[in-house]
Each structure stands twice: as C-alpha cells, then as structure tokens.
Amino acid sequence: MPPDNVAPQQPAKAVRLIFEYEGETVRLISQQAVEMVIPDSDTAVSSQAAHFVDMRDAANKTLARVMVRGAFATSAEVFPERSGDPITRVDIAVPKGAFTTVVPVADNADHITLVKVAPGAEAVAGPEGLRRAPLVTTDMASFPLSGRGQPADGGVR
C-alpha cells in the first residue's frame, strides 16, 4: 500500500529495437511498437560501464535509458560436456551479432542513441573506499525514431 504513490510497473508505450553490430559498427534493423512493462532493473541504471540505448528528444536530452545486455562481448562461454568440468571462455577477434532492447517512448521522443560508457584512465578511490575508474561516455550512433534501418549519421563511430 503506497501511502503516497510509488510509480507502479505498468505496461507503457515502448519500442522494441533490434540492432546488428560488427566491431563498433552498428545498424538499427527494426523498430516495433510494443506496450509492455519495462522493469526498473533495466531502466533505473546507475553509472556503470556498459552499453545503453537512449531515447532522446529533438534537443538531444535523454528521456529514457535502457541497458544493453548480451552484446559487444569480446569473448564467449564454452560449456563443459561433463559435469564438474569448468566452464571456460574463448576470445572473439571481432564482436559480431545482434541485440534487442525495449525503450519507453515519450510523446516528445525524437531519436535513439546508442551510448557506450567505459572506464577511462586509472582507477581512483571511490566514496566507499573502493577503487573506481572514471567513466567516459561516448555516443556511438543515432537513429531517427520512426525510421527503419538507416542511421541518422551513418551509425558508425
């Protein structure tokens, strides 16, 4: 019982995006309107090293940000056939594949931007005494919201 309203997880207007990538080159290959709950764990992201998809307005202000999972990996897991043997990893020379995200769509949404947040220089002490590397945010590619397949700026950084 919320004494004062807490935002409930209710289905919302959103768009499912499917991207293809090879290395740092990204193509948006489909946009699909969908109405569904987008979990807080996907949208309430703290500052961390990851890829994100932003929904932005015409002034490039971020309206919603969703974390990308399962993409741009530089290694793959290899699973053991025999129980008890270790799971191992193998390097991938050039990350290649596809991923999907579902991003809330506000009335003033204009375009989609793929964002990379990565550690920058040497780690420094954080507020809890933990060592944290400063993060650098880079816009990788932007795509018009209603367009299909063609990135607004070539889609390459």
């Binding site: 019982m1 919320p2 004494p3 004062d4 309203n5 935002a7 409930p8 997880q9 209710q10 289905p11 499912r16 499917i18 293809e20 290959i29 489909s30 699909q32 969908v34 109405e35 569904m36 709950v37 979990p39 807080d40 764990s41 703290s46 961390q48 090293a49 990851a50 974390m67 999972r69 399962g70 993409a71 990996a73 793959a76 897991e77 290899v78 699973f79 053991p80 056939e81 129980s83 008890g84 270790p86 799971i87 191992t88 990893r89 193998v90 390097d91 991938i92 594949g97 596809a98 991923f99 999907t100 550690p119 780690a123 954080g126 809890e128 005494g129 933990l130 060592r131 944290r132 590397a133």
Partner: protein
C-alpha cells in the same frame, strides 16, 4: 543456409497465463527440425519447461512467467558441424543457420542472432528472452542476446545460465578464464564490478550483499592461499552459507562470489541466494495485480491456515491468488478464462466454501448473465457456466449464501432492477430465477443476504426510494414482504453490509447520501434499533462498509475514507465504538472497497486496491498489531 531453408509455422503458448505485457516471456525457437520433426521440438520444449520451472527461484515465480514455442521448419536436420573444429564436416540447410565449432571450438554452438530476434519479435513482440533449440545430440550451446542449446543431455542448463547474463546482468562466478591454468588471471583488476553477484570489496559494512550475510559468518569466508591457481579446496562452511568466497569473475584472487557454488559458477547446481534475489527482484513485481479500481475483492478461508482471494483485473479477467501458511502466496492466475462485466463498479467474483475442499464462484459476465465455476480439490477448476438466462444490470454483484453444505442461495439484480434469486441443491440442481416479493433495487444497489439458521434467510438492499429494505425467507412460511428498515436515506448505490454476531442478532452498515457511515441493529428480543452514525465516520463516495465479527461481542469495520485512506474502527460491548483510525498508512481508490476476513479470532487479513491500482494486503494480529501493506503477488 538462411531463411529460405525453411518457414515459420507459428507460435504456441506452452506455459503460463500472465498477460504478455506484464510477464517474463520466454520464446523458444526450433532450429534444424524438419517438418516431420516438429514433435521432437515440442517435446524438447516441454522438457525445458519442466526443468526451468523447477529451478529456484523460477519455481515460485511461475505466475509471472509465460513460455512460448515457435515452430520453425528447416530443410535439413541438425546444424553445421565443421571438420576444422573437430566436427563431422556436416553442412546443412537450416532456418537460423546454426553451427557448431564457432571460433574453432566444437561445443560453441551459435546461430544467426538477427534472424532469431526478428522471428521472436514478429511472433511475440513482448518477449523477454529468446532461446534457440538446435536439433542435434552433439553437446553445445552459447549465450549472448540469444541463448542456444542442443538436445544433448544437460544442455538446458546452458540456457538457464545464459539467461542469468541476458535478463539480469549476472556475472560469471567461476574463478578462471580457461579452466585455471591460464596466465594473467591471478588477481582481479582494481575497481568494483557492476554486476550484483561479484565484488572486489571485502568490507562487511559496504559489501553489496551484506543483507544476506549472517553476523557470525567470517568475511572473507574463504581466501585463496595461492593466487597462481584456482582454489580447489572444499567449502569451509555449510552449503548455502552466504559470505565472501575468493575466486570469481575469471580471476583466482581479488574477486569474490557470495556462495561457494552457484549456477553462475557451475552448471547443474542451484543459483546462489544473491542471484536468486536478483532474479526475484526482476520478475516478482510482474506478479502483482492491477485491478479494477472499485470492484470488490472477495476472500474465503477454507480452513484457518489458508486463504483464497478473488479479484478482477483492470482488463476484467477473473483472478485469484491463494495463501497457505506452509508456502505463502502462490501468485495471481486467471480463473478458467473468465471476464467480468465492467459496468458500475464492475462485477466482483464472489466465492463461498461449502466445505474445505471446495469453492463455488459467481460473477456477471460481459454478456451480463450470471456465471459460476467451482474448484474441487479432487478435480481442480471447472469452466464457467451460465446460471439460467437471467440478464443482470451491467456490473452487478452476485451474492451467495450456503445455509448448509449441500445448498446455495444466490442473489442479484436484473437489468430492470428486480431483486432476483435462485438456488442450487445437491439433490435437485439449479432452480429457476425468481423475483423476491416484487422487490426492485435502486440503480447500483447490491443485494446482500445472511443465513442465521439453516432454515432462515435475511435479505437487504436499497430500494428505489433510496431507503434500506429487508425481507426474509423461512422454511415454514416462505418469503415475507419487503419492509423499510427505519427511515434512513441511503446512497442509492450503497451496500447494506450485515453481520450476525450470534444467531439472534443482526448488525447493519451502510452509507447515507452524504457519505455518513450509518448502522442499526436487530435483536430477536428487542426488534430493530435506530440508525446512528458510527463514530462520526464518512466514507469516500460509493465506498461500502465492510464488517466482521471476531466474537459475539465485538465488531471490526473497514472503509475507504473521504481522503481515500483505509480506515477502521471497532465496537466492543464493554467499551462501545472506538474512533476511526488509518490502517498502516494505507491509501485506497476513491469509492473502493476493503475486504476483510478473520480466519482465526485474534487475526484479521485485509485486501484492497491501492492508490496505484494494485491489490494490497495487510494483517492485524493481537500479538503484533497492524503490519505494513504489501503488494499481493507471490512470496
């Protein structure tokens, strides 16, 4: 070796009944199954459902999980198996172009992720995760945005592990990169990993899973004495102990995991406590119920350690959740596909337990006819069926009384306001609908009834002159005429709630046109009392007053107040009426209802639709007082 090598046949939901827009939707795609092998895919999906839904915590989150299979034919069977990676050299034409031997490793089984995601989106736009099932008995699989696994024994574990990455951002907890003999993985790099299940932090106070660590557990719990290799010693603490175990996130030292073992470390073992909680936090909010704001909730205790709750979802679905003292709340499910009438406050689902192993349900359907369904512990849920051909007011309530185990009396209002009743008896089945003594109810009024004896009924409603009316049925004399209960004006759409604290006493509660909460009583010796306002209380317009009697000399009332807060008061014969008070800070919907039940005398359970439209519950216990409100879903 592309989509020209097969076709998408369509999808079938093979597990769950949650609304797709509020669910964890798993989509399984067939790869390398020819048109004549689709049944093999179906069987593989069934096996996955069994394994997945038995895996904690998914076993407790089933009400929020849907699983779909998408049947896709391929020209050929299986997957490519390049000889360069030690395979057979097979090259086959399949829809998703799957192949073993990715990156030169035979067990690394991948497919065209773009095609997989596009097919899943076209079939189930609301999907959460996609799993491609490859028709091969060669062991293999992979993760990423699409999980892939073959039909080899144990490969379903790959999909469940990979889902941990894709859906929840869980880290790998194994302490090596290539099995333990690699170089460059002795010490975890500086910096705290962002994933919730690995850390470099050894400070108990700031440890991100310190909520799960017992004060008696040492931190670190297990340290690696030789960082040049993996620590292969057994756990120093019992299985399931949450602490800080060195060796995680691909490094022998400096990276820590929450438990000795976890499915994110080894296949074939359970998820650790921290990973289970992460999964729970992601899915359980989907298991709450957005309900029609003003439709009453019904609750039945078939026995003291069990509750069955019935509510109507915001889209009209007839929903139920149950609680058992041994297992907690099971989660909402739709009862037999029912949809309730949306008029007025919306038709509720009313329920009665004639005996501990049986429930009878009633509602008004979207065609405004009266429907019933039952649950029996021997046979489960029946389908909904109509009771006669009566057409009700849209959104009207069907109230039910069981005078004895083999008999039901039900009451509602016809489309023209006539007060109608019928009965069911185990010997004769359903009777015909009849109008009770020519009675006509005000628009929106409900008909309430109570059986003080097995041979007697008292019925109440608001008449077209907005006064409370009653009549009775007695086995010896039949139906009486209607009579006005005093001269109290009522809201036309109000409910007359009635409680019999003992067989010769009735206490009535309703609301005046200005919302005042009014009561009167009848006693076999003294007759009817006068109407009076209960402790100055005023209800939110349209909110009914709920009353329960825990003792013959005690009453508890519940209502939504004019500020939309949940209020309660009580009456005790020695102290009279208490003042109204807000229950645990709760806020409901304007005109909403509070359902109450006392399954044991020193305990009350409450249910209402909260200000955010979700169903909430709280309880009162004589030893601990009122608990906080919680969203009703799964526990």
């Amino acid at each position: 070796m592309s989509t020209s090598d097969g076709s998408v046949l369509g999808n079938t939901q093979i597990f769950g009944s949650a609304p797709r827009s509020r669910a964890f939707n798993v989509v399984m795609l067939a790869e390398g199954f020819t048109s004549t092998q689709q049944n093999d895919f179906n069987n593989a999906c069934s096996a996955f459902v069994t394994a997945f839904t038995a895996t904690p915590p998914y076993d407790r989150l089933k009400p929020a999980i849907n699983i779909f299979r998408v049947n896709v034919t391929s020209t050929d069977s299986g997957a490519d198996d390049p000889a360069s990676a030690g395979g057979t050299g097979a090259s086959v034409r399949t829809y998703f172009d799957s192949t073993f031997g990715t990156s030169g490793i035979r067990r690394l089984l991948t497919c065209n992720n773009t095609t997989a995601l596009q097919v899943a989106a076209a079939q189930i736009p609301e999907f959460t995760v996609v799993i491609v099932v490859v028709n091969s008995t060669i062991y293999g699989g992979s993760g990423g945005s699409v999980g892939t696994y073959s039909l080899a024994g144990g490969a379903t574990e790959i999909a469940i592990h990979e889902m941990g990455h894709t859906a929840y951002g869980l880290a790998d907890e194994y302490p090596y990169w290539a099995g333990g003999n690699e170089t460059g993985h002795d010490h975890h790099p500086a910096g705290e990993p962002t994933e919730p299940n690995v850390t470099t932090n050894t400070n108990r106070a700031t440890l991100k899973w310190n909520w799960a660590v017992a004060a008696t557990t040492a931190i670190p719990t297990m340290s690696n004495p030789d960082c040049t290799t993996v620590d292969n010693r057994p756990s120093p603490v019992p299985t399931g102990t949450v602490g800080l175990f060195e060796g995680a996130h691909y490094y022998h030292c400096g990276g820590y995991r929450p438990e000795f073992d976890c499915k994110m470390r080894n296949l074939g073992v359970p998820f650790c406590h921290v990973c289970r909680q992460v999964i729970w936090n992601r899915i359980s909010p989907l298991a709450t119920l957005p309900a029609r704001n003003r439709t009453p909730i019904n609750v039945v205790a078939r026995f003291p350690e069990h509750l069955d709750v019935f509510a109507v979802a915001s889209n009209g679905r007839t929903m139920s959740d149950w609680w058992d003292a041994s297992s907690g709340w099971a989660g909402w499910f739709q009862v037999s596909g029912g949809i309730a009438s949306p008029g007025g406050t919306g038709s509720p689902v009313t329920a009665i337990a004639r005996y501990a192993g049986h429930l009878d349900l009633f509602t008004v359907g979207t065609d405004n006819r009266v429907y019933s369904a039952w649950w029996d512990q021997a046979t489960g849920w029946s389908g909904w069926f109509t009771i006669g051909t009566l057409v009700c007011r849209s959104g009207s309530t069907v109230n039910v009384v069981s005078r004895y185990t083999d008999h039901l009396d039900i009451f509602t209002t016809a489309s023209d306001g006539k007060v109608m009743s019928t009965w069911w008896d185990a010997r004769s089945g359903w009777g015909s609908w009849f109008q009770i003594s020519g009675g006509v109810a005000a628009a929106g009024a409900t008909v309430t009834a109570i059986a003080r004896y097995p041979f007697h009924l008292d019925v109440f409603t608001i008449g077209t002159d907005n006064r409370a009316y009653s009549c009775w049925w007695d086995e010896r004399s039949g139906w009486s005429s209607w009579f006005a209960v005093g001269n109290q004006s009522c809201r036309p759409d109000s409910t007359v709630s009635v409680v019999a604290r003992f067989a010769d006493q009735l206490d009535l509660f309703t609301t005046a046109p200005d919302g005042k909460i009014m009561s009167t009583w009848w006693n076999a010796r003294s007759g009817w009392g006068s109407w009076f306002q209960v402790s100055g209380g005023v209800a939110s317009p349209g909110s009914p007053v709920t009353a329960i009697a825990r003792y013959s000399n005690h009453l508890d009332l519940f209502v939504i107040g004019t500020d939309n807060r949940v209020y309660s008061t009580w009456w005790h014969d020695t102290t009279g009426w208490a003042s109204w008070f807000n229950v645990s800070g709760g806020v409901g919907k304007p005109g909403g209802q509070v359902a109450a039940i006392s399954r044991i005398t020193e305990h009350i359970d409450l249910f209402t639709v909260g200000s955010d439209g979700l169903v909430y519950s709280t309880w009162w216990d004589a030893s601990g007082g009122w608990a906080g409100w919680f969203q009703l879903g799964v526990t």
